[in-house]
Amino acid sequence: MTVAELKNDGKACAMDTAHVSSSRDLRVVIDLIVNGERVIEEVEPNMLLLHFLRDKLKLFGAKESCGEGECGACTVLMNGYAVTSCLVLAVEANGAEILTVEGLSKGNELSILQQEFIFQDALQCGFCTPGMLMSARGLLDKNPNPTDEEIREAMAGNLCRCTGYLQIFDAVKRAAEREREEREE
C-alpha cells in the first residue's frame, strides 16, 4: 500500500491522532544539573521527574513501585532534599540540582553509605535500595548526627519488603558515624 492509499484508507482516516499533535505542540526546555553534569532537554509539560530520569536520561536506578509517593523507591535528591520523583514534574526540576543513586559513588569507589549498606546486608532484592540510599543521603546531608528516632522518621517513607529494616537502620547509623569520623580526620 502506498502512502497515498494509506491516507485514503478508511481506517487510517478515522484514526484518532489528536494526542499526537497535542503532545508535540507543547514542549518545554529544561536546564538542570544531574549528578554533577549539566543537562538541557526538551520535555512534555506533564512528564514526571522520575520518567525524565529513566526514559530520557536512561538513569534506571530510581524505580517506580507505586507512582503515588507512598513507597519511596523513586527517591532522588533535589537541591539537597529527598523527594519522591514520581510526584515531581520534570519542569519543576528546571534549574535544580538532582542527585540519583548513580551519582553516589566517588569515582570508582563506593561512598561510605553504599559500603555500609553492603556491610550491614541492608539489601536483598535491591529494588528499594536506590531510594533507601537517597533518603539516607538526604537525611545525613541535612542532619549529620541523627538520633535513632530521626533515622526511623526519615526512612519511614521508604518501603522494603525483604530486609525487615534493621540492617538498613544499622547501615545509616554506622554511615553517619563513619562520615563524622572522616570529617574529623
Binding site: M15, H19, S65, C71, Q115, L123, Q124, E153, G164
Partner: protein
C-alpha cells in the same frame, strides 16, 4: 576490586557471634550482588527496553461477577500508535497450574473485580493508557459469591464447568457441582477413641484475611512472539523460569524448547511471582502486533487488584486433652477463601493436610482442607505456603488449651512435641536428623525470659498504667511443598585463571543463593570465595533445569547439586593431574587451588593450569576444559494417599519457634513489638549474614500479617484498599526494638553440610506468638487477624474475654 577485599574484613554489627567449623561454609561473606544493587547497575525486567518494543496496558473488570454483554474496541483500535487490541473473543487460550480453569481474558463472565477484560499494545504507555479508556464494555452485573459460607452453599457456582475442568488427577480433588476446587484430607488413628480419652474438649474458630505479597517490583513481562516460528521469547520478573517455560508450552501448545525465558534481577517475589501470570497475555499481544516485543508492567493498584494474593482462611479446630496435658485428639477443618482461580491455591490447601497439625505428636487426628472458589482476586503461593495460616489456628488453640488446663504453655507444648520416634499425621517417623522443635522452643523461651503466666491481678494492676506488656511464643514447622519428583541442577565451568562460574536454573531474588552456593563450591574445591561466581541471570536456553524457585529449597537442593558438581570437578582435575604427574588419581589430594601428591605435597599442579587443558613443557596438551554438572533429586518422596494423607511429603522439615514481648497501649490498641527471639533448627549455617537477614525480614513480614495487613472487600466484593495508603505494610517505624536470631544445628543427613531450608519459616507463626502475647497482656483471646489498633480496641471495649 580492591574495595571488595576490604569489605570482607569489615566489621558489621548485626550478627551474633557465630563460629563456623568450616573455611567458607558458615562465614558471613557479603552478598555477591551487593555492589550492583547499591549503584543502580542491577537491571530488572522493569528496567528493560528492547528495540522496537511496544507498551501494553490492560482493562479490568470493575465488578466481582458480571456477564460481559459487549465489548467495543473500535475507538481504541483507531487511535494512532495502537498496534494491537485484544479481548476475550480474540483469545481462547486457557492457562492453569494444577487446574486449567483460567482464560487469559475474562470471557463470557468476569469472576473477580480486577480480572483483565481487554488489553492494548501501543508505541507508548500513554497511548496505550488512552486507548484503554476508549474501550467500551457493557456488563450485566451478577450476584457474586462473596465468602466461603456462600460458596459452600453452592447456590451459585464460580465455575459452572467445575465437573469438567482439567486438573492434576489423584492430587487435587474438585468436588462435583460445588465451589470446592479441591478437597484434601488426612487422618491418623481414631477421633472417636481420642475424644473418648479426653477430659476436656475445646472447639474454636480462627480466621485471617487475604494478604498481598507486595514485591517492590510489580509483575513485569516482555514477550517477543516470533511470527515466523513457534518461538516465544520472554523476559520476566517471574521467580520460576522452568515452570514458566513448561506452562507456556502447555498453554500455547508448542514445544517446551520453543519457549525461551530470561530472568534478570527480580525485585522481590515471595511466591507471588511463581507460576504463570502476565506472560500469556503479553504473548497474545505480541503475536497480534506482528511479533515485536511487548512490555506489560503492573501498576501498584493493579498489583493489589489483579495479581494473586495469599488466600484468606478460616480454621475450625476441635481438640481433646487429658487433665495432665496430653492432646488425645485434634480435628481441623481449613476453609481457604481462594478466590476465582485455583493457581497455587489448591496446592496450599493440599499442603495443609500434612503441615497443618503443628509439630505435635497427636495419635488421633484428622484434617480436612477445602480450597474454595469465590468471586475474589485469586490466591497463590505466599511465603510460608499455608503454614502461617494453619499455625495461627493451631498455635492460638494450643495456647488456649494450656490456659484452660492451667498448665504452663511451654510445659504443655514440650509434653506434646514431635521427638525422635514420634509420627506426623502422614505417619512419617521423626528421627534425630529431622531437627528438634524442642531445642528451638527451649532456646526462645529462655531468651525472652519466660517465667510463667501473669495472674489476672497482675494484669489489672498493670492496666492502670495505660501500657500492658505480654510475652508469648509459638512453634514453626514447614517442609518444602513439592512434587515427589522435584529436581534441580547446576553446571560448573572453570575459567582459564582458575575461577569457577556456576549456572543454576533457579533465581536469586534477594535470598542470597548466589552467595551461599558460591561458598559451598569454594569449600568443596578449596579455592577463595572470590574465585567462584554464580551467574545471577537465569535463562532457560543456557542454564540447567530447576523445578521452581520456591519452598525454601534452593540452598538445600542446589547446594547438594553444587557439592556433586564440585566433587566431579575435582575428579576431572585429578584425572588430568594423574596423567601429567604419571601417577594414580588415588594418590592425589586437592587443596588451596592445587592438585598435589599426598605423600609429596610439593609435587602439585594448579587448577588454573588444567582449567582449559594441561600443556606439557613441549606444548603438547591433554585434558580439556574443566566442566562438570551436579543434580539433586528429591529422594524418597511419595504422593499422599487421597483419603488418609499417608506418604512421605517432606524432603526436610525445618522446625523453629518465635517468642515475643509486646507492649499494648490500652487507650489506642496499638501494639509495639519490643523483642522477638527466633530459633530455627537449620542444621548448618551456610552464610550467617544471609540467615540473619532472612530472620529479620521474615519476622517483619510476619509482624505485617499480625498487626497491619489484610484485604478489605465491600459487600459486593470490590477491593476497598488497593493502595499503600489503605493497605499498609510495615515501615521502619514498625521495626521491633530487638530481634535475636538463634541457630540450632542438629544436622540433616541429606542436606548440604547438614543444612535445612530457612526462608519462609522466619515469617510463620509471628502472628500466633503476638496473639499469645496479647492474651498474656490483656487476658483476652483474639481469634481474627489482623490485630490492628481498631480490632484490638473493639475487642477491649466489648468487655468479652473471647473476641471471635
Amino acid at each position: 576490586m580492591s574495595y571488595l577485599c576490604q569489605l570482607e574484613n569489615f566489621e558489621y554489627s548485626c550478627c551474633r557471634d557465630y563460629e563456623s567449623a568450616y573455611k567458607h561454609v558458615g562465614k558471613p561473606y557479603i552478598r555477591k550482588d551487593a555492589v550492583e544493587k547499591v549503584t543502580g547497575q542491577a537491571t530488572y525486567a522493569f528496567d528493560m527496553e528492547l528495540p522496537g518494543m511496544l507498551h501494553a496496558k490492560t482493562l479490568h473488570s470493575p465488578y466481582a461477577r458480571a456477564r460481559i454483554v459487549s465489548i467495543d474496541t473500535s475507538k481504541a483500535r483507531a487511535l494512532y500508535g495502537v498496534k494491537a487490541c485484544l479481548c476475550g473473543k480474540d483469545a481462547n487460550t486457557k492457562v492453569g497450574l494444577y487446574m486449567q480453569d483460567k482464560m487469559v481474558f475474562a470471557s463470557g463472565e468476569t469472576r473477580y473485580q480486577g480480572e483483565v477484560v481487554a488489553a492494548v499494545a501501543a508505541t507508548t504507555e500513554a497511548i496505550a493508557e488512552r486507548a484503554i479508556s476508549l474501550i467500551e464494555v457493557e456488563y450485566e452485573v451478577l450476584e457474586p459469591v462473596i465468602n466461603v459460607d456462600q460458596a459452600l452453599e453452592a447456590k451459585t457456582l464460580v465455575h459452572p464447568d467445575i465437573n469438567t475442568i482439567q486438573h492434576t488427577v489423584g492430587v487435587f480433588f474438585p468436588q462435583p457441582d460445588t465451589n470446592i476446587a479441591s478437597l484434601n484430607t488426612s487422618r491418623r488413628g481414631s477421633l472417636v477413641k481420642g475424644f473418648d480419652e479426653a477430659d476436656l474438649i475445646v472447639e474454636n474458630e480462627f480466621s485471617l484475611p487475604a494478604v498481598a505479597h507486595v514485591p517492590l517490583e510489580t509483575h513485569v513481562a516482555i514477550v517477543e512472539a516470533d511470527p515466523y516460528t513457534d518461538k516465544i521469547r520472554i523476559w520476566s520478573s517471574a521467580q520460576s523460569p522452568f515452570a514458566l517455560r513448561q506452562m507456556m508450552a502447555a498453554a500455547f501448545d508448542v514445544k517446551e524448547s520453543d519457549i525461551e525465558v530470561h530472568i534478570p534481577y527480580v525485585g522481590g517475589a515471595f511466591g507471588g511471582k511463581a507460576g504463570i501470570h502476565l506472560e500469556p497475555l503479553v504473548t497474545l499481544l505480541s503475536r497480534a502486533a506482528g511479533g515485536v516485543p511487548v512490555k506489560l508492567r503492573m501498576t501498584r493498584e493493579q498489583e493489589f487488584n489483579y495479581m494473586p494474593t495469599r488466600a484468606g482462611m478460616r480454621g475450625r479446630i476441635k481438640s481433646g486433652v487429658t487433665k495432665d496435658g496430653k492432646i488425645t485428639a485434634t480435628e481441623i477443618v481449613y476453609d481457604w477463601d481462594s478466590g476465582a482461580y485455583a493457581d497455587y491455591g489448591v496446592n496450599v490447601g493440599k499442603t495443609a493436610v500434612y503441615g497443618g497439625l503443628g509439630p505435635y505428636d497427636i495419635e488421633n487426628a484428622s484434617i480436612v482442607s477445602n480450597t474454595i472458589y469465590t468471586n475474589k482476586v485469586f490466591s497463590t503461593a505466599y511465603r510460608g505456603f499455608g503454614h502461617l495460616e494453619t499455625l495461627w489456628t493451631v498455635e492460638r488453640q494450643t495456647d488456649i488449651l494450656s490456659q484452660k488446663l492451667g498448665i504452663d504453655p511451654y510445659e504443655f507444648r514440650m509434653m506434646n512435641m514431635l521427638k525422635p520416634g514420634s509420627k506426623t499425621i502422614s505417619e512419617e517417623v521423626i528421627t534425630e536428623s529431622s531437627g528438634s522443635p524442642c531445642d528451638c522452643l527451649s532456646a526462645v523461651v529462655k531468651e525472652i525470659g519466660w517465667t510463667g503466666r501473669k495472674t489476672q491481678e497482675e494484669r489489672e494492676k498493670e492496666w492502670k498504667t495505660g501500657k500492658v506488656r505480654g510475652k508469648g511464643f509459638a512453634m514453626i514447622q514447614k517442609a518444602p511443598a513439592m512434587p515427589a519428583n522435584t529436581a534441580t541442577s547446576v553446571i560448573m565451568q572453570m575459567v582459564g585463571d582458575g575461577h569457577v562460574n556456576i549456572m543454576m536454573g533457579a533465581v536469586d531474588y534477594g535470598q542470597g543463593a548466589l552467595t551461599a552456593l558460591a561458598q559451598i563450591a569454594a569449600q568443596e574445591l578449596d579455592i577463595p570465595f572470590d574465585m567462584v561466581k554464580v551467574i545471577p541471570q537465569t535463562n532457560t536456553e543456557t542454564n540447567p533445569y530447576d523445578w521452581n524457585t520456591v519452598a525454601s529449597k534452593l540452598t538445600f537442593m542446589a547446594g547438594n547439586a553444587v557439592i556433586q558438581a564440585s566433587r566431579r570437578m575435582v575428579d576431572q582435575l585429578k584425572d588430568v593431574a594423574a596423567r601429567a604427574l604419571r601417577c594414580s588419581p588415588d594418590v592425589l589430594g586437592h587443596a588451596d587451588g592445587y592438585i598435589y601428591k599426598k605423600h609429596m605435597p610439593e609435587i602439585r599442579i594448579a587448577y588454573k593450569d588444567m582449567a582449559l587443558g594441561y600443556a606439557y613443557p613441549d606444548g603438547m596438551g591433554i585434558g580439556g576444559p574443566i566442566i562438570s554438572h551436579g543434580v539433586c533429586m528429591a529422594d524418597g518422596l511419595t504422593n499422599l494417599d487421597p483419603e488418609t494423607g499417608k506418604g512421605l511429603p517432606a524432603l526436610a522439615w525445618t522446625f523453629g519457634a518465635h517468642a515475643v514481648e509486646i507492649e499494648l497501649d490500652v487507650e489506642t490498641g496499638n501494639i509495639d513489638v519490643l523483642k522477638v527471639a527466633s530459633a530455627f533448627d537449620i542444621g548448618q549455617v551456610i552464610n550467617e549474614r544471609m540467615v540473619y537477614s532472612q530472620v529479620i525480614g521474615g519476622v517483619m513480614q510476619g509482624i505485617g500479617s499480625a498487626i497491619l495487613e489484610g484485604y478489605k472487600f465491600s459487600d459486593n466484593n470490590v477491593l476497598l484498599n488497593p493502595s499503600f495508603t489503605d493497605n499498609k505494610i510495615p515501615t521502619m517505624k514498625d521495626m521491633p526494638f530487638e530481634v535475636v536470631p538463634i541457630y540450632i544445628e542438629n544436622p540433616q543427613l541429606n542436606g548440604p553440610y547438614g543444612a535445612r531450608g530457612i526462608a519462609e519459616h522466619t515469617m510463620i507463626s509471628v502472628p500466633s506468638a503476638i496473639g499469645n502475647a496479647l492474651y498474656e497482656a490483656t487476658g483476652i483471646n483474639f481469634y481474627r487477624l489482623p490485630l490492628t489498633p481498631e480490632n484490638v480496641m473493639l475487642g477491649i471495649l466489648s468487655g468479652e474475654k473471647d473476641c471471635r
